[in-house]
Amino acid sequence: MKPAAFRTPEIGDDNGVLRARLHAIWETQPGWRGWLSTVDHKEIGLRYIVTAFVMLALGGIEALVIRLQLAGPDLHLLTPDQYNQFFSTHGMTMIFLYASPILSGFSNYLWPLIFGSRDMAFPRLNAFSYWVYLFAALFLYSGFLIGAGPNDGWFNYVPYSEKDYNPGLNQDFYALGMVLLGISTSVGAANFIVTFFKMRAPGMSINRVPIFAWGTLTASAANLVVVPAVSLAFFLLWLDRQFATDFFRPAGGGQPLLWQHLFWLFGHPWVYAIVLPAMGMVSDGLPVFCRRPLVGYSVVALSTIATMILGFGVWVHHMFATGLPGLSMSFFSGASIVITFPSAVAVFAWLATIWTGRPVVTTAFLFFASMILLFVIGGVSGFMTASVPVDWQLTDTYFVVAHIHYVLIGINVFPVVGAAYFWFPKMTGRMMDERLGRWNFWTMFLGFNLGFLPMHVTGLLGMPRRVYTYSDGMGWDILNLVTSIGSFVFAIGVLLFFINCWKSLRSGPAAGDNPWDGPTLEWAVSSPPPPYNFAVIPTVASRHPLWEDQLEESVARTSIHRGMTLDQAKETIATTPLDALPERIVEMPGDSYAPLLLAIALAVLFVALLLKLTVLVVIALAAVFLALLLWLWPRRELLERREPAHG
């Protein structure tokens, strides 16, 4: 059939015939072919989530080994060099391979569902982003497995990472692996941004978007422009090491502090990028269990954006001890203090939501609500170190280690586990075990605080971070032992979570479409959702489409069972960025091997660069070009080519 250039979308009712037709169009081919070529955002999202949780487990095991080493004075479980690799790999794993990808996983899975769309804007790019993430993780870990893991902390300061001090392949694995991972993060960010602005259902104007989407949007906008900074830093480091350039080497007129600037120009916005979507999970999940809308939607959305914008201007607070001019430090100290304002807005909004709501205490609620407490603790310790003189006392001590763990575990892991309890029924069709959930929550919560609250004191008593052991008589023995015990309790809690997932997946009670009586569109589809998500494109009339009868926010009602059918091909609707008015019928690409092939070609390229195999580099570059050509070849079914003269 010849596709028309313009068409009036047919309006119809949700029915079995329509669903059967859409199913045939959207379903991924079964078997390994479909597995390798799928572009379904739900499948990709689940892969992200599973892979990231595997990374959480690996990073956790590394942490336990570290805690065994530090459980008492003068222990020798690890050699100093092994210790360096363990704590650096732990940081790399948790920050780069778990904390961000897990949020990408949830966003990938949920965005089209909460937007009332049938997929992300760029489904193939989505698949590509996952494959590159997977290959980058394998690349980075293959270094660790052959004894060449990163060994200079996750932020990898020069000069220790330069070749003179670090002759092995450790830093080359880390540098190239991070550049590869940066490709995944960047294309993922681009996909989220375009999806946010173009793929929302008609009527979902920008003031009706769930906060979770705002969180991922701001994180993605930040990632899009700051990931190049760290990719560049690692690339320049690799050149310094392998081709004797002089970017960071003072002997050749280089500037070691350039590394820190480039790293933290990325690193600090990145911290917000791995917490803002998680804060969004709380902003959307918590109100469901408080049986009321979030208090202060608009200010929370605006403060999310404000946090990110201010987040670009605080990176130097990581560098207060490097001898920068006083004026520079005053500015960045001020910015770092001001950034607590928008964060506090979210905290008060959550508290007011609980206060004025009728809380239903579920496991998910406990994780979301406890995050508020952990956020405040992590926020206050961050606020303290925003002050230059305090930072001079505390920098490079365990106080900072305690701070970063309150931020990353408190504002990432706790919301994420809560989100898993919250959305697991949607993803699998089964409820998680609430009883085991309570054990899971209390073990994690108590273990975490037992481990990390005393660590503040360890830092105040002056224990430096990154040391592989310490002598007795420093006053750190008991504190470290308590931290080690706490970390194992916490690990048992995480293990209970994994057990609960596994057990519930096999034998959890059926969930139904909307087990929590949630207000947003993902709860309007079946659990798990069909390949096409929505049989008809919904039209959104308010911020809480499924709560309209109770809330009476608007006269009109969201239309879920009647709407555009778009069943002539693999189609969905694109809308205008602000008002979400229907703008275009878009043809979505079918399953494709191109993303996987491009990712493989890139992975081979990076291995070739690591080993400096020039011939293989050239072959891999040619393969990259061919894979891109296959991908971008103008296709008739995507309406990228001249229509045939005769239909």
Partner: protein, 203 residues
């Protein structure tokens, strides 16, 4: 009884038409990210330059020949590419091929002249941090020129076999948009490395 909000749009475009479509947004985000990359490269130059000791500039008076005419050539190639894009828009295949082909030739000349400049330099990329910055920044730009040339060559081939019509031509517009980026970002690189020394930076 509340009424049902139901979007019932009239005629909507199907798929990308002209230059508008989701793909345009994709290339726009790519350009934003790439622009940031060059921003950090230039930041590195200014940062190291501002904190360096006198004598850091290996070329206190950079030669503007052939760099300036070469810059003008590259920027001009953007307009020639637009001429080619207009050719596709007007269903004039000859104009399309002349425009895209012309841009390819001009871009290739730019690359060759830049290669000559590299060859002519008295220093290597490992000589000092200035040399490293110069070669790596212009080198990364050169990599973008090569990618841009491959894009233009693909478009040239597709236009030659009549893939595009005035309505269905988003690949052309997206590719040419990328080429504009490659050209415009060079102006920033050129200004930084060839002009700011005359303004006294890092002297």
């Amino acid at each position: 009884m509340a009424e049902l909000a139901l979007a019932t749009p009239r005629d909507l475009p199907v798929g990308p038409i002209g230059r508008s479509g989701l793909g345009w947004w994709g290339v726009a985000t790519l350009v934003a990210s790439e622009a940031a990359l060059f921003g950090y490269l230039l930041f590195s130059y200014y940062y190291i330059g501002a904190t360096a000791l006198p004598g850091w500039l290996l070329e206190p008076r950079p030669k503007l020949l052939p760099a300036l005419p070469n810059t003008i050539l590259l920027v001009a190639s953007s307009f020639v590419a637009i001429y080619g894009e207009k050719g596709v828009e007007k269903n004039n295949r000859a104009q399309a091929l002349i425009g895209l082909g012309g841009a390819i030739v001009m871009g290739a000349i730019f690359a060759a002249v830049q290669g000559y400049e590299w060859w002519e330099k008295p220093y290597q990329f490992g000589t000092t941090s200035y040399a490293s910055l110069y070669f790596v920044t212009t080198g990364i730009h050169m990599a973008h020129v090569f990618v841009g040339l491959l894009v233009l060559a693909s478009l040239f081939g597709w236009a030659a076999v009549d893939f595009f019509s005035p309505r269905r031509r988003i690949s052309v517009s997206n590719g040419v948009l990328y080429w504009h980026f490659v050209d415009v970002v060079w102006l920033f690189v050129f200004t930084t490395y060839y002009l700011t020394p005359y303004l006294g930076f890092a002297q």
